[in-house]
Symmetry: C3
Subunit: 140 residues, 3 copies
């Protein structure tokens, strides 16, 4: 059994879903491990991870709308010193994922046909986000 890890940097430019599937898959394919477990961990509390449909881009826009309605910037929040988008960003992060773990079999992640891996940015301004990738498993 072996393990390896790497930090992926994603530059975001405003709220939205940024697909990282191909970068994650490419990194996995360069590792010796063929069977195991991939964990993604985002090191932030105002951006999150989600697995969603990557066929119709409207899905991502509808998701954004939903989260904006449920946690609006115009809400009444105590925490406002970091801007009106910060507390809604924390709420949206709490409602989605900070971490995702995906089995790897014969070099293939277990992702279904329509599943894409996304960084879900919740802040208004440009950010550089860090996603730690950790892979544990075997080369056979």
């Amino acid at each position: 059994m072996q393990q390896t890890n790497h930090t992926l940097h994603t530059d975001t430019n405003g709220p939205g879903l940024y697909e990282i599937s191909s970068r994650v898959v490419n990194w996995c394919q360069k590792q010796a491990i063929q069977n195991g477990l991939l964990t993604l961990f985002i090191r932030h509390t105002s951006a999150s991870l989600t697995i969603q449909e990557n066929a119709d881009p409207d899905v991502c826009h509808d998701l954004q709308d939903f989260f904006n309605q449920i946690a609006p910037q115009q809400g009444s929040y105590r925490h406002s010193a970091e801007g009106p988008d910060d507390m809604p960003a924390h709420i949206k992060t709490a409602l989605t994922q900070t971490q995702l773990t995906i089995p790897l079999t014969h070099g293939q992640l277990a992702l279904g046909t329509w599943q894409g891996i996304y960084v879900f940015e919740h802040r208004q301004h440009a950010q550089r986000r860090q996603v730690v990738m950790h892979l544990i498993g075997e080369d056979f």
Copy 2:
């Protein structure tokens, strides 16, 4: 350290919570691994996983009501080509889990007394859902 995996198929027949606890436990008990980590990964974006109380069936019905109210079929969505239940299904998936990881100790999953593992189906029509189970650990 060893690992093994298997895909569990669950036939669903409309929205609701389908308990898979006993099938998951049974599969684990047939493996040589006694101590380790079980990961469940659902390969879909319109059905999800959740751990919930499995004592009172009303809890599952109330959960369904809650998610139907928060993401109603009558909502205004861009993504409608796959039917009025599809975009709400993606939202409900984003709000719950695509993956669950549970420690295994002396052959027992760490599930609490009242915790059941459920496939949460969000689509109206019958579906066959795939849940990948991955177990890593040792036989002692």
Copy 3:
């Protein structure tokens, strides 16, 4: 590759976010494993886990307000035999996490600067909550 586990008990005294970061970090530092994967699993369905900002305590209060508004005690629930706070507690648990997995590198968890690990208590009365910690990895 090695593994080890331990159950952390947290006494809660009403709804709110109880930070367990330092207890988790301290336990990890006492293990021989320097590189690997830490999994936290809470054995309940009316309390959950979340990773949130631990700088401004207002964030935790705003989070509580949000979840109280979205799943109010005054809601119309079938499941009421365990008190008016129980079904909202199950909903809040479904919307957050029962499990968190965090990579460990050179003895350090991958937590970002502002990330804290919290038990999110959703019940009114005092509880003793169990969080299973499982660490798999190597000592180099």
